[in-house]
Symmetry: C2
Subunit: 112 residues, 2 copies
DNA sequence: ACCTGATATATAGCATTGCTACTTATGAAC
DNA sequence: GTTCATAAGTAGCAATGCTATATATCAGGT
């Protein structure tokens, strides 16, 4: 995948990955890789800073734990994060319809 | 629309806007605004530098003309631009399927 | 003992990219 | 003569994801 394509949509993807339940960064990477047949294989240098950003924004909360001798930081959605995810999902539908329309040269269906 | 959402997809949208025939920057803005019911209203500070980038990349060629006393720079797709557009359309389909899958928490359909 | 690979997190610095704000200029309308 | 639509441009900014690198633990093989 081209690098810049994900820009502006990573947060939504990460929030969605945490929707089923709390996960730590490494598990998020694995989960995304699995669900996309290996096509979305995000580097750690992308994931960890992004999760920190989301935490600082109050959309997720993290807590340390140790499993099998290795420390983990497990993140879960906050109420604000759940709301943000709902909004971002709507944004995505709107946005993707718009780009699809633009690429196909037909007028864009108005939202809702 | 959130500002960062378009990142990485503007080029494809612009190339597509030039597919029907040559257009100048201002007309591209108008055209996109019309086709999206006003939702994609790109500022000139976005369009003009982007068209220059595409020209420098050899995907479009521009030529000056004067219409009604006002100078225009009219752009048309090159052969490379047409090829690039085909590729970018495929990229978009792949990418949007992936993000949609990620946001809906279901596994991603493999491409083709 | 040693090495490799998977697990797990982190950061500095970079490159790209679209936007804001501003400038310049013409023609039409009032 | 002022305002608005048309038309193009630039400087500088902010955001964001990536590369490269570092640290550390544990399992498995030799």
């Amino acid at each position: 995948m081209r690098a810049e394509e994900l820009k502006g949509h990573l947060d939504a993807v990460l929030l969605a990955a945490l929707e089923d339940g709390p996960r730590h960064g490494y598990a998020v990477i694995e989960s995304l890789r699995q669900n996309t047949g290996g096509r979305l294989d995000l580097p750690t240098g992308t994931i960890y800073p992004a999760l920190r950003r989301l935490e600082q924004a109050g959309l997720i909360t993290g807590s340390w734990s140790v499993v099998g001798g290795r420390r983990r930081r497990e993140y879960r959605l906050t109420a604000a994060g759940t709301r943000a995810l709902t909004g971002k999902r709507a944004d995505w539908l709107d946005f993707s319809a718009m780009v699809s329309a633009a690429l196909e040269g037909r007028p864009c269906p108005s939202p809702v």
